[in-house]
Subunit: 145 residues, 2 copies
DNA sequence: AGTGTTTAAATAGCATGCAATGCGATTGCG
DNA sequence: CGCAATCGCATTGCATGCTATTTAAACACT
């Protein structure tokens, strides 16, 4: 483990991400949702009726990843994909009534995971953490974008 | 995106983790290695000849996840799995000569990813980030462990 | 010795993520 | 207008991660 010292940031972050995902999975399970669906749901709760390409830009994952997630969400009765009269290449994604009804509970569940994760650190520290994370994200993005 | 505010920590961390993984994948690719193999390699570079169960404890992933990673590493000529004379349920994992030869370069590649990720933040900030991350990790672990 | 429990691995099934391709629809430009 | 380039999406193939289950071996305790 001592060897980890030089590059433990990546390891630590990966570990944190897995724990967050597991906690979110547990919190969302009672509502029949999974962590991977959550960003898409947030985007559609915010503005229903977007195309896949719009969602990809908003969520920041690759298009094939979203395509598969949307298929699972369609299978699970969370969304429908309607033809787009303005451009027949794309389709308009709509939430089902059921998905709309889950908004409050799901957001509360996710918020509580976050609150729990940050429970042991002070508010200013949490802010600092978010700030540093944002800076690391943009640094890592530079070369790839 | 405004809705993200309340629970953006999990989202931010997930995003960071994906960027780290992608950067590490790119850095390791020339050496024929993948990010998921790296923790196992570190553990075996540190001490060769461990069992799967020992590695699981050390690395902190689930046993089936490691089993599959080890299969891929075996397929790729990085490890061998020898019978354990002391306990025929388990097998002793050994690095191949080739995997041993990759140590310096792979560690340098991973370290450079880390250095790049942290390039834009001060040393004390990086330390703080690591500390806060560690505290979030142990908080999230509490309920599940 | 014999049986029940624990332990080590393997396997099945699933969710997310990626890169690379293919394909039809649209757009832009000569 | 017509063709080339671009765009939107689907699909394929792969890597990682998880949970749940199975199998065999080792242990423990009567």
């Amino acid at each position: 483990m001592s060897d980890f010292a030089t590059f433990s940031a990546g390891y630590r972050v990966a570990q944190m991400a897995r724990l967050f995902e597991q906690a979110l999975a547990e919190a969302l399970r009672p509502h029949g949702l999974t962590p991977g669906q959550f960003p898409t749901l947030l985007a559609l709760w915010h503005r229903d009726g977007q195309t896949q390409a719009e969602l990809v830009r908003e969520i920041g994952i690759e298009q094939p990843t979203l395509a598969l997630t949307l298929s699972r969400m369609e299978r699970d009765g969370l969304i429908t994909r309607e033809p787009n009269p303005a451009d027949s290449r794309s389709r308009i994604i709509h939430l089902t009534r059921h998905a709309r009804s889950l908004k409050e509970d799901a957001i509360a569940a996710a918020a509580s995971v976050n609150a729990r994760a940050l429970a042991e650190i002070e508010d200013e520290e949490a802010e600092l953490f978010m700030d540093l994370s944002a800076r690391i994200v943009s640094t890592l993005r530079e070369r790839t974008d």
